[in-house]
């Protein structure tokens, strides 16, 4: 399976990328880690005229936090995010999710931005970005804009990004001190895409849920923020009864799809199971934090 012919540009700057995207639009593809794009090229599933390699653009790399959100540059390798002390301290949800992202070799090359840009519905990073209320920053020759994750993920591999735009970074707000997060997924084999998964972030007041973001992924065409499930637990203490209510509320929040790996019915069932389990863990973590405080 060898790719079709294409033209290749090793871009040296963001400006160069934007100029090329402006010129070629949908005929160009941005090559970051390549862990998702290269298989599609090898299988001849896509036919870009131009491949724009952004791997050498330093401005697109790195993790930092300084008076505000955590910034993760688009070409930051998953492995770097996984090891990052900044991420571990401020965004433990991502650190908890990382071991589920494929395998060592894929994480060494695959990028945080690449995963967000692709928006595979079973991928871990888009789910985390949504749960953490990230803002995705897009640039084009026309300017720069930042989109809330809520508005960024639109459908199956479909995001707000226009063909002439480059995702340059994610800006992830540092959660408040009373935040508890839980990441869980179910996959047939370690590293496989999830067949059901949750990324929860809860603001706690004692053992009562003050607010939160409950994201479900792997079961629909995009990661979903479950409003009904949140309403079911908001203002209530975490426990079996509120967890059950959240699980029941998924009937309104989710419309899972069937695939080779499982029927819609099973996926909904699994999301309910994960809801109960993740909220139980959240409760343990909340009380653990309360004890530590």
């Amino acid at each position: 399976m060898k790719p079709r012919k294409f033209s290749y540009v090793r871009a040296g700057s963001v400006a160069e990328v934007l100029e090329l995207l402006d010129r070629y639009g949908e005929d160009a593809r941005v090559l970051a880690g390549g862990q998702s794009l290269m298989p599609t090229l090898n299988m001849r599933l896509s036919e870009p005229k131009v491949l724009i390699d952004i791997n050498r653009i330093e401005a697109l790399k790195g993790i930092s936090v300084r008076d505000g959100p955590v910034r993760i540059g688009t070409v930051t390798r998953h492995a770097e995010v996984m090891r990052s002390a900044i991420v571990a301290e401020h965004l433990p949800l991502i650190t908890e999710a990382m071991p589920h992202v494929a395998h060592v070799a894929v994480r060494n090359r695959g990028t945080f931005g690449g995963s967000i840009a692709l928006a595979d519905p079973a991928a871990e990073m888009p789910a985390c970005a949504l749960a953490l209320g990230a803002r995705l920053v897009l640039e084009s020759v026309g300017g720069r804009r930042s989109i809330a994750a809520d508005d960024y993920f639109k459908g199956l591999y479909d995001t707000e990004r226009r063909p002439d735009e480059l995702l340059v970074e994610a800006l992830i707000p540092v959660p408040k001190p009373n935040t508890v997060s839980v990441f869980m997924e179910l996959a047939r084999r370690h590293g496989d895409f999830a067949i059901a998964g949750v990324a929860f972030q809860l603001q706690m007041e004692g053992d009562v849920v003050a607010d939160g973001r409950l994201v479900y992924f792997g079961s629909e065409e995009k990661p979903t923020l479950a409003k009904g499930a949140l309403a079911a637990i908001k203002g209530r203490p975490l426990g079996e009864s509120s967890a059950e209510a959240a699980a029941a509320a998924l009937d309104g929040d989710l419309a899972p799809i069937s695939s080779a790996q499982g029927s819609a019915k099973m996926r909904l069932h699994l999301q309910r199971v994960l809801t109960r389990r993740a909220l139980a863990v959240a409760r343990e973590r909340a009380s653990g934090r309360a004890k530590a405080a």
Binding site: F6, D53, V104
Partner: protein, 162 residues
């Protein structure tokens, strides 16, 4: 377009400086195998799942089939041949042979390349952690048990020495 676009690359492979013109669509493992005769890296799927193509680029193990040769310009690539010659994993290789942690040998270069990264971390690992680390390397012959044994034994010996 009917012309095959080529670009020059210059990189270090197993410690040797190499300069070539390559088709831009050629992936790194095809380059290593056909241009440099380094056939120790193998192709099992060309979609980044089986791990047979694992090579080390700038110190990290990657899927060689998902990287274009042109992307390796200016990098340091180490293949199983280089790893073997350097002696870095001589103990692991001996352990594999002694424990028969390979049969057909097709997955073995990728398996060793990946296990080498675990050993280099220098931390203890349980059998479950070893299995998790190797979870992206497909082996159809051994059923993995012998491989886990060999990695576990080698790791324990190294930690004991240090």
């Amino acid at each position: 377009m009917s012309d095959e676009e080529h670009l020059p690359i210059s990189l270090t492979v197993n410690g040797e400086r190499v300069t070539r013109m390559v088709p831009v669509r050629q992936h790194l493992v095809d380059f290593l195998r056909t241009d440099l005769g380094l056939t120790g890296s193998h192709l099992g799927c060309e979609h980044g799942v089986c791990g047979a193509c694992s090579v080390r680029v700038d110190g990290a193990v990657v899927r060689g089939c998902l990287m274009l040769a042109v992307q390796a310009d200016g990098t340091e690539v180490v293949t199983i041949e280089g790893l073997a010659e350097s002696g870095e994993i001589a103990d692991l290789q001996e352990g594999f042979v002694a424990r028969n942690a390979l049969q057909c040998g097709f997955c073995t270069p990728g398996m060793l390349m990946t296990a080498a990264e675990l050993l280099a971390a220098g931390a203890p690992a349980t059998r479950e952690e070893i299995r998790t680390h190797l979870s992206g390397n497909y082996c159809r012959c051994t059923g993995f048990h012998a491989i886990v044994d060999a990695v576990e034994t080698t790791l324990a010996a190294r930690l004991k020495k240090s």
